[in-house]
Amino acid sequence: MYNKKFTRRELLNYIIGISGAAFASSIIFPTLKYIIPPKGTDVDISKITAAKVGELPPNSAKVFRFGNKPAILVNTPQGVLKAFTAVCPHLNCTVQYSQEASYILCACHNGKFDLNGKVISGPPPKPLEEYKVNVTGQDIIVSKV
């Protein structure tokens, strides 16, 4: 099989084929690279002042911006401050606090979480990621654990 000789036509066909593939790759590769957005444009922070002391009465909550994602700060009916990511682990909707029932609700698919972030009911596959809350002077500071 190593003795097989190419005819001129076969050789030209191979060369044209390879050149064609190279030509196509030279178009496809940069196009694909171009449509993938560059990294590093997202803001990644680990600590933020989410609210001021006294801003949140017990049994209330506030959704705030934490880097490029929303987070939720809850003052429980017992007056304990808790913070979680506000991004539902199911399909990415932003959760909210239900004052009537004192749980965290995702309005998209009815996912419910308790005030420890654990799933009570609905389709979310995992709990809400919890953040650390510290009070420094008048500031309520939320940081990633």
Binding site: N68, L91, C93, T94, L105, A107, P123, P125
Partner: protein, 360 residues
Amino acid sequence: MDIDTIKNRLTGWVKERYHIEPFMDIITKKTVPQHKHSVWYYFGGITLFLFITQIITGILLLFYYKSTANTAFDSVKFIMTKVEFGWLIRSIHGWSSNLMVFTVFVHMFSTFFLKAYRPPRELTWVTGVFLFFLTLGTGFTGYLLPWNELSFFATKVGTQMAGSVPYIGGFLRTILRGGEEVSDATLGRFFGFHIIVLPLCIFAVLGAHLAFVQLQGMSEPISVKERKEKKSIPFFPNFLLRDILAWMLALGVLASLAVFFPAELGKKVDPFAPTPVGIKPEWYFLWMFQALKLIPSKVFIFDGEVVGILGFGVMGLILLILPFIDIWSRKEKRSLFLTLLGIFMLVFIVVMTIWGLIDN
């Protein structure tokens, strides 16, 4: 000079220059079967009419629409409140998209149940299913453009669903969103998809779809084919005139809906505000939305939403390759199994949609 002379001179002028006889033959000699199921033939034509309406009103909307997160909502508001008949153009665009999705559904399912995909029309079916996907994609991308609360969260859920596809999901989501989150970058991309990429794809696939229909003619249902006596009418002008009548009816429905139920503007999105209670996607995605609500978080060892999305994917795949799996239709026989499968899919979609509409 009377009209016939002008017509003859014009045709003569064209015929001297171009070899158009084969095309004229297709049009003049083509016939359309007439039977009790003929009414379903008109839905393809109505869909085409609605697509043309979409193109025209879409171009008009482009005169004022601005596709950035800061300007999109206000530009749509401007169209709705300041531009003369802006509300009408946008309402017609919105309603014709909804009606188009509806007629595509009807056209597709009627073709499904009449087994019109059987040989030699397999590729007509496949191109049709691609058109169905492209229509849904165009609806989905267009929905985000007003940049209101509803559209923002619908896009979040939709792109996250794409992100749940095993292995390539993360890549797909990033490509669609133009980043990690739904943002200004997503709006820019969706705008590009909505006004250029998807319409160009639709034009290409639609060209092939219509060419196949013209070359092969309309399919006759198996029950009709078995009959000895068959009726048919000429495509030109008889069927075409009836088609135009159906278009006029569609225009009437469209105009009435646009006037009596004009498109709403909604509330400008705040990407860092909670998703409002009662949020729902467009009605044609509601069945998927509702199904995802009902699937538990874990199905065996898999995440519920991954199972759901794979299920939708399998449904889409079955639709796409239907002519090649329906081995009975090749022998001009009806498969009870596939008919029942079609009924199951249709009932599932209808029930989930209604459930989604009434469920809060």
